[in-house]
């Protein structure tokens, strides 16, 4: 028995030693290459003014490069024969669109718009120290309120659109405000309440849509979807129907960009934003400084919800590709836009302007999804690559912040080697004497 155990142990040891040897070899090779690249890039790095935002941007870019590289390696492993076509299609993004790149571009922007809103909602909450994971619920409620006004409020005439948008914002505000209230008054963690509020929003909205009155007025029984909103309530195409026709893109992309700019100004330039951020950084010190920290938490969550709600409202009010409106289908699954907002907010280090760009990037990659399917990959390969990029964005931020130290470490290694060589020489000489 003992013999068998020992031999087993020995084999394990031998294999482990072998793996370690191989790993070491490749690790050395890798560090050597990394060192070469690092030494080339270091002088440029020194020249760059290192503020927080440049670090964040460089971190995100580095993450994207590393993430794409790993993703491509993964694609080669999964499907060696189709990998070359797959990689090409991945990098081409919306250019894959068979109806033409312009339509592809418009579609990509249209799909990115709601995610910009939820990303902004989550980023805003992050900046004020809160993790609003309930953007989906707020999005759904905003969408629902806007749908009701858009379908039933035909008496509003030309005001129907703006009332529907404001109604959606109010609905989202309320849905964010409630978890904020529990956080402020009873210290219930906002992650738990806001997750629960996703489900509450989903089932309450679906329940209400099945109620006798709404069922006949708002829902199309045959498709189990809401009917399209009135013409007057639909978002304007702006100049996109001539510029990017048939792509479904409307002016809500501008509203999204405008929201990002407003949020950036509020957070960085105003007393109000300073106070919200202060509460996020240190709730107690903000209270001590005279900020009503409970009010701040409730408002932060409310505003975050309001942005998500705005996204929901603009989604349902969108005229869509065939100018038929975008219906909501009554299903028992949470709307994914709320969760798609989390990675884009993280990739942008919660900077509102950054959220616009990170969302566009993610949407670009995602728009390649269908084309890659025909190259023999599953649709989810895109999700995997985005997840990898997200993981690396956390590493990359740390790496860019410590690049100086890494360089120093290399220098020390070199120096140490020299030192030890010199001492060896000295010893030899001493021996000779």
């Amino acid at each position: 028995m003992k013999k068998i155990f020992n031999s087993l142990l020995n084999t394990i040891k031998k294999t482990a030693a072998f793996i370690a040897k191989v790993a070491k070899k490749y690790f050395n090779l890798f560090t050597k290459e990394a060192k070469k690249i690092g030494q080339k890039l270091y002088p440029t790095w020194l020249k760059i003014k290192k503020s927080d935002s440049t670090t964040a941007i460089l971190g995100a870019l580095l993450a994207i490069v590393i993430g794409l590289t790993v993703g491509i390696l993964l694609m080669i492993v999964i499907n060696p024969s189709g990998s070359l076509i797959g990689i090409g299609r991945l990098l081409r993004g919306f250019y894959n669109e068979p109806k033409g790149a312009l339509i592809g571009f418009g579609e990509m922007l249209a799909q990115a718009t709601p995610i910009i809103f939820t990303g902004l909602a989550i980023a805003f909450a992050f900046k004020t120290g809160l993790f609003n994971i309930g953007a989906s619920g707020q999005f759904t409620v905003g969408l629902f309120v806007a749908a009701l006004i858009g379908i039933l409020g035909d008496k509003l005439g030309s005001f129907q659109w703006i009332v529907a948008v404001l109604g959606g914002m109010a609905g989202g505000f309320l849905w964010g405000f409630i978890p904020g209230f529990f956080k402020a008054k009873y210290n219930v963690h906002e992650v738990i309440t806001s997750i629960m509020f996703n489900y509450i929003a989903l089932y309450v909205v679906n329940g209400l849509l099945k109620s006798p009155f709404l069922k006949t007025q708002v829902v199309n029984g045959a498709t189990n979807r809401t009917v399209a909103v009135d013409q007057a309530a639909r978002t304007s195409y702006g100049f996109f129907d001539t510029l990017l026709p048939n792509s479904g893109l409307d002016i809500s992309i501008f509203i999204a960009i405008g929201t990002a700019i407003i949020l950036y100004i509020v957070l960085n330039k105003t007393v109000f934003g300073r106070e919200l951020k202060g509460v996020g950084l240190n709730r107690h010190a903000s209270k001590y400084a005279g900020v009503n920290e409970n009010k701040s938490i409730m408002l932060s969550m409310g505003i975050s919800g309001m942005i998500a709600g705005l996204g929901g409202a603009l989604l349902i009010l969108a005229p869509n590709v065939y100018n038929l409106g975008t219906p909501y289908s009554i299903e028992n699954t949470i709307m994914t836009q709320g969760f798609d907002g989390i990675p884009v907010a993280l990739l942008a280090s919660s900077n509102p302007i950054g959220v616009v760009f990170s969302t566009l990037f993610v949407s670009y990659i995602k728009s390649a999804g269908e084309a890659m399917q025909s190259a023999g990959f599953v649709l989810e390969i895109v999700e995997i690559i985005i997840a990898i990029i997200l993981y690396f964005s956390a590493f990359a931020l740390i790496m860019t912040q410590n690049l100086g130290n890494i360089k120093k470490l290399f220098n020390r290694f070199k120096k140490k080697k020299k030192d030890s060589d010199e001492t060896n020489n000295l010893e030899v000489k001493a021996g000779e004497n």
């Binding site: 330039k269 105003t270 007393v271 109000f272 300073r274 106070e275 202060g278 950084l281 240190n282 107690h284 010190a285 903000s286 209270k287 001590y288 400084a289 005279g290 900020v291 009503n292 120093k408 470490l409 020390r412 140490k416 030192d419 001492t423």
Partner: protein, 527 residues
């Protein structure tokens, strides 16, 4: 005697600041060597280099004459160097035994041999007279025992060079005595000790030699027996430090703060932690609330500043009844407050120094216009305060507050609060963690406020501070004020009796009308 550790020409450059500037430090075998210096003088940095937390920019470390390179705490450990940090590095939910053996568990095929470890540790305990309860969880034992756990951690790893980073800051006088004894035991067994402290008395008591650092440079190394407290403080600060402060005769003015029958009920124990307290503070006087920690002073400070609510009674500030007013109202209407907990309340650690210096002002003109922050005004304010109060930091007003040393953080808070120019300065544990030079500086600033006609209410647990700075003392015991006396009319011994609850002059009986008369009488006497 032989040098066990030599640090030669150690320089450590941080962004914007040279924390150590070609420092030479020698530790002999079997000595207790004190490392003394002002806040931010570079003591902690030097020890962090020795312990492998930082890599030096240049310089070399020698052990027993041969050069060594320490790149991580694990390396330090291999060279026999151990450290007790100011904030302990223990796993709260592990038992003391598991904490001690963590990382060096005696094991057989991966299974921990706890009994063997226990036996070894018990022998160590016996040898050095350290008593710990090995099976208790760290979170359940006293700070004192946690510190002994840290010491045992070093001993269990057979470290013979022991670094103590301000170990006495968290201990009571009796516990300090005990620690000093332990250090003497360790020395007798041949261990070499580096002892970082601000407290000159402790150095004179146990140390063999002292190395003094100032602004990152070594000022000198002296034998304790050939030096005095005054000499050491001069070396440390670079000038004579006056331990007894001269004050101008006081000019009393109007009542600024009036507290009537203030009561705070503890949520946990349902007891009155502040019990029917009444007093007044006038312009031009420093009133100090003295007492042993935990007699309701902290709660009194919190309720006056508005951080907790009063259950009963009245607070009148500049003829405004602020009892139920918000903190911002108090801040904007005559209250400055140096808080007890500087990390929790005093600063937003992750924010810049400039924003922290403007923490109570950014909502006022000229720091905002129409709701927009005026960055330039804030930066100007910060520059002025940093210069006027000598707040040292790596990157000036842009530094994150968390990157300042503790003393400089406190200076920043003092600067902010004095700059507010309020009629009342409420200052709680003003000088905790400050070196003698900074203490003197802070006290002078506070006395200058009094001379300008401000009312100052201090809460302090340190008798030296109480006796040196205040004009009038209120002694607090179990939530009540048991003595109201002019500082010149009382000595430390008598004060101690009141603080311990042995003696009591009930200043204010229950009826509201009487304390006013008595207070008036008192104040007349004061004038």
């Amino acid at each position: 005697m032989q040098n066990i550790i030599e640090m030669r020409n150690i320089t450590k450059q941080f962004p914007g600041i040279k924390a150590n500037d070609s420092v030479n430090f020698e530790l002999r075998k079997g000595e207790i060597h004190a490392l003394l210096g002002e806040n931010g003088a570079g003591k902690s940095t030097l020890m962090s280099i020795l312990f492998g937390i930082y890599l030096p920019t240049s310089g070399q470390i020698f052990k027993n004459g041969s050069p060594i390179s320490i790149e991580s705490p694990n390396d330090a450990n291999e060279f026999g160097i151990g450290m007790v940090h100011q904030h302990f590095k223990l796993v709260e939910v592990f038992t003391i035994l598991d904490n001690i053996i963590m990382g060096v568990e005696p094991n057989k095929a991966g299974f921990i041999k706890r009994n063997q470890a226990k036996k070894e540790i018990k022998e160590l305990c016996k040898l050095y007279d350290l008593s710990v309860d090995l099976d208790s969880r760290v979170q359940d034992v006293s700070v004192n025992m946690q510190q002994r756990t840290e010491i045992l951690k070093m001993l269990y790893r057979h470290n013979d060079i022991l670094i103590f980073d301000e170990p006495t800051a968290v201990l009571t006088p009796q516990e300090i005595e005990q620690l000093m004894n332990t250090m003497m035991y360790l020395k007798k067994e041949g261990k070499s000790i580096i002892f970082i402290t601000h407290k000159l008395d402790e150095i004179m008591q146990v140390c063999d030699r002292v190395t003094v650092l100032r602004r990152g440079k070594v000022i000198g190394t002296v034998e304790t027996k050939n030096t005095t407290k005054e000499d050491l403080s001069r070396m440390m600060v670079g000038r004579d430090v006056i331990f007894n402060i001269e004050k101008k005769p006081q000019q009393l003015g109007d009542v600024v703060l009036e507290v009537n029958n203030l009561t705070v009920v503890s949520e946990r124990t349902k007891k009155n932690v502040v019990d029917n307290v009444s007093f007044r503070v006038r312009q031009g006087e420093i009133v100090c609330i003295a007492g042993v920690d935990g007699n309701g002073q902290s709660e009194l400070g919190l309720v006056l500043s508005g951080l907790i609510k009063a259950n009963d009674g009245q607070i009148i500030l500049d003829n405004n009844d602020v009892t139920h007013k918000s903190i911002r109202f108090r801040n904007d209407n005559g209250m400055s407050h140096i808080p007890e907990d500087r990390h929790k309340h005093g600063l937003i650690l992750d924010d810049s120094l400039a924003n922290n210096l403007a923490l109570k002002k950014y909502h006022l003109n000229p720091f905002q216009k129409h709701g927009f922050i005026q960055k330039k005004s804030i930066v100007d304010l910060a520059r002025n305060l940093i210069e006027g109060f000598d707040v040292r930091s790596g990157e000036g007003y842009k530094s994150k507050a968390k990157n300042l040393s503790g003393g400089n953080q406190q200076k920043a808070i003092i600067a902010r609060e004095i700059n507010k120019n309020s009629s009342l300065l409420l200052s709680i544990q003003t000088v905790r963690g400050l070196d003698v030079g900074a203490v003197e500086f802070a006290h002078n600033k506070i006395i200058a406020e009094r001379d300008k006609g401000k009312a100052v209410l201090m809460i302090s647990f340190e008798l030296d501070e109480v006796m040196n700075v205040s004009d009038r003392i209120l002694v607090m015991y179990e939530g009540r004020i048991v003595k109201n006396v002019l500082t010149k009319d009382i000595d430390v011994e008598e004060l101690g009796l009141y603080m311990a609850g042995v003696k009591e002059d009930i200043v204010y009986p229950d009826k509201l009308s009487e304390p006013k008369q008595k207070e008036e009488a008192n104040n007349e006497k004061n004038i």
